[in-house]
Amino acid sequence: MSSQEIPEENLPAEQSAGLDQQEHGAVKVADEKNPFADPGLPPHEHRIQDIDERAARRSERTVALLFTVSMLSTIAFIAAYLAIPVDKAIYVFPIGHISALNFALGCTLGLALFSIGAGAVHWARTLMSDEEIADERHAIEAPPEVKAKVLADFKQGAKESALGRRKLIRNTMFGALALFPLSGVMLLGGLGPAPGTKLRHTTWAKGKKLVNMNTNEPLRPSDVAVGSLTFAMPEGLDEHDHDFQKNIAKDALMIVRIQPDDIKDPRELEWSHEGIVAFSKICTHVGCPISLYEQQTHHVLCPCHQSTFDLADGARVIFGPAGHALPQLRITVGEDGYLEAVSDFEEPVGPAFWERG
């Protein structure tokens, strides 16, 4: 369609063929009329192996040597496989301590393969004919008479099918073909449950104790020192549980103690216990666990995409791609003196989503 818009004369002319027909290797004559014309293929230059049989034999020996090296390497591979214990480590400069078996197998396999390749390439380069040959190209598109025949055949076939004439058949067939893939789409429904409100809730609930992730013991306020970062999970969560991974992906908590005077956000102070604040550990950007804590500034950093939150100011985002503050868990101290949750998180933890609102 666009070819009509551009006149043919705007397309550049092809470089003149010059002495195209000239036989390969023929002595070329400088074209007086067109010094830029194609002089044709340059004459073939012989390699030393083409004229000196001794050089050719040297090449032959080199190729044979490479193939022999390959054979020896394969034997070495087999020997290494059988002899070296799988757990043996060796020191190789400058890599350091590595698996002896891996090193030996990789090097012998590599050498065996590389020698085959080097031999074949050397053979091709020095001993096989290096005379360049020119092949004709043919247009990719079919000649007009072929095209005409195909179009006629197609018309004939279409006519015989009567698809255009018998509209009832055509329309119902299209309907049937369009509908049946829906069965496949329906079957995909089994891939997962509907999200419902699952992303809004965690295991946290009123009275759930905060359990130190490292010691597996419930936390007392005195366990949380100023300047330390403590990771916690709800009591009752056990690594061996079937849903542990799913739950910890939302429940994970980080706890720090900040001097109450330093807390800028009034709600944060209210939800804390004497400066002990508990925030979701799951980054609100795309869900990495936050793990870096700067004691002096009370900033936490997600190591994945460097979102930085200010824990002294409602965990608002101060740098990076996260879109909103980390949710805070309201905590208090129970009758037995352990830290516990007052309720579940008030907003969904983790990355934002459409229904989050």
Binding site: E5, F36, A134, C288, A352
Partner: protein, 547 residues
């Protein structure tokens, strides 16, 4: 068989034909191999170092399949939690998925298992790097032009599918690093308006991480994606055979021929040998350079992470997009539009599609419907080369963004400064790169122009009788003259007359105007150096005393 009526030669060929020929006869009678071999056995392949880049991709793909099949013999695609009791002491007693456990088993107990794992992973990285560089070669030399646009698309699809196959494979061991990458993907899916949570729940079979994704990724990684890719590779190669390979301009090389070495024996030996070279090099790399040491990362736990988390290199640009994007979140009638994640998720395919559609844009601008088998030298197509370099700059800027933490720690830079650099360079970098590249191309064209007209600078200084010093210029040979002038130069398309021959005003469509503008930008006065004509050459070379 009666041989009585046959001539002597016939009977001889029947009775004494070598075994190989008899097997070939048998196969020919059933598969028609002689007709196939007739057109292909001595097929000509041109030689140039850049033509082996595609071979690296093909061979690393084969290596990935071979080693991948081996790995499936030992890998358990299951997320059932088990306790580790293997020989690696630091992890003993830890809970981990069977996927991680079996990967540990492959790495520490299967003899040679670690080697095959590392070859598999290294080959995957090289496969993608190879495709990237191969695509650049095709792009900058204009090898994507008619009739090869479809093959360009096949190659593009291979690159994209290769990325996803790599990502799914990388996630299978269920280690801390890859799990973090999967979590990132989940967060990105959640950002999709309206259906985001459904996409995530359907992919993971419920809430992240659930117990399904390793098995689901596994079937995609070993069956679905490589199956499609294998089909595309075959189609890609068939088209390479059918179109015949492109070649650079040179003496005796025209748009209607292909000059080089025959498939049998030279190309078979070189290409076949090259497979072993690639395999050999990857094996040695895998012997000496550890990759993805899952034992030092440990099994995945959604509440744990390591610093310096990085995806494999080919995912780095998407990582850059997500890292430098401002964290925009908009309240949209009670719903959340997570633009800070969703925009990068949408730009990610755009970056890729930009290169996929390029051939069609260029052919629309040139209006050229002819076949092109002679490759362009990048300098002779400054606008295209500029676009290519601009795109690479874009990609590299995003790669820097993807590793902003590593840049910060290794070069003692502020992460804030790097982020802002990437944000600005994302828009400015490609423009600058485009302009600079175009200038360099034009400079190189001018140099060619001078070389054609004034010959090669020999470096020999001659003193003339009257004391003047001149440098001797050696005229180029006809081969060189031809090679340097063989490229075509387009004339910018013009909008046709606004009135036709009958004086009736014709409507000039917006399309035409855009096209004429683009064409002018591509081939207008500032965008190429008009190559010397024969007349100019003769005028200069016929005089005496010139230099």
């Amino acid at each position: 068989m009666s041989t009585a009526t046959n001539t002597a030669t016939d009977s001889r060929s029947r009775e004494k034909a070598p075994a190989g020929e008899r097997v070939a006869d048998w196969a020919d009678g059933r598969l028609g191999i002689y007709s196939l071999a007739k057109s292909n056995m001595r097929k000509i392949f041109p030689d140039h170092w850049s033509f082996m880049l595609g071979e690296i991709c093909l061979y690393s793909f084969i290596i990935i399949i071979l080693t991948g099949v081996y790995l499936t013999l030992f890998f358990h695609p299951s997320m059932n939690e088990v306790e580790y009791h293997g020989p690696y002491v630091p992890l003993q007693g830890q809970l981990m998925s069977e996927a991680f456990n079996s990967t540990m088993h492959i790495s520490f107990e299967v003899r040679g298992g670690l080697l095959i794992r590392q070859i598999h992973h290294w080959a995957a990285l090289i496969f993608l790097a190879g495709m990237f560089v191969h695509m650049m070669r095709v792009f900058f030399t204009g090898a994507f032009r008619k009739p090869r646009e479809v093959n360009w698309l096949f190659g593009f699809l291979l690159f994209v599918l290769g990325m996803f196959t790599g990502f799914t494979g990388y996630s299978l061991p269920d280690d801390l690093l890859s799990g973090t990458g999967v979590r990132f993907m989940e967060g990105a899916l959640l950002s999709v308006p309206i259906v985001g949570t459904y996409l995530s729940f359907f992919l993971f079979g419920g809430e992240f991480p659930g117990g399904d994704f390793v098995a689901r990724f596994y079937s995609a990684h070993v069956l679905l994606l490589p199956g499609i890719m294998l089909g595309l590779v075959v189609a890609h190669l068939i088209l390479v055979f059918y179109h015949k390979h492109t070649q650079f301009a040179g003496p005796g090389k025209t748009n209607n021929n292909v000059v080089g070495m025959p498939l049998l024996p030279v190309y078979t030996a070189k290409a076949g040998g090259f497979f072993f070279l690639v395999f050999g090099v990857i094996s040695v790399i895998s012997a000496i350079a550890s990759i993805n040491p899952i034992w030092s990362m440990g099994p995945y736990r959604p509440d744990q992470v390591s610093t310096g988390a990085q995806p494999d290199w080919y995912m780095g640009f998407s990582e850059g997009l997500i890292r430098v994007m401002p964290g925009w979140e908009i309240d949209f009638w009670g719903h959340t539009l997570v633009l800070g994640v969703f925009i990068p998720l949408m730009v990610f395919p755009l970056v890729l599609v930009a290169i996929a559609v390029y051939p069609f844009i260029e052919s629309w601008v040139t209006g050229d419907k002819r076949e092109h088998h002679i490759l362009d030298r990048p300098r002779n197509v400054p606008t295209r080369t500029g676009f290519g370099v601009a795109w690479i700059t874009w990609y590299m800027v995003l790669l820097i963004g993807g590793g902003n933490d590593l840049w910060a720690t290794h070069f003692h830079l502020s992460i804030n400064a790097i982020t802002w650099f990437v944000r600005i360079a994302f828009f400015v970098g490609p423009v600058v790169a485009f302009i600079v590249t175009k200038r360099i191309c034009l400079g190189l064209q001018r140099r060619d122009h001078d070389k054609i007209l004034h010959g090669r600078e020999t470096g020999i200084i001659k003193r003339l009788p009257h004391g003047e010093f001149i440098e001797v210029h050696e005229p180029l040979s006809q081969e060189q003259l031809h090679t340097l002038t063989a490229h075509e130069q387009y004339v910018p398309a013009e909008i046709g007359a606004a009135v036709d021959e009958n004086g009736v005003a014709r409507k000039v469509t917006r399309r035409e105007k855009v096209r004429a503008k683009l064409s002018k930008g591509y081939y207008g006065g500032d965008s190429q150096i008009v190559k010397p004509t024969v007349e100019e050459y003769k005028e200069i070379t016929s005089g005496h005393g010139h230099h």
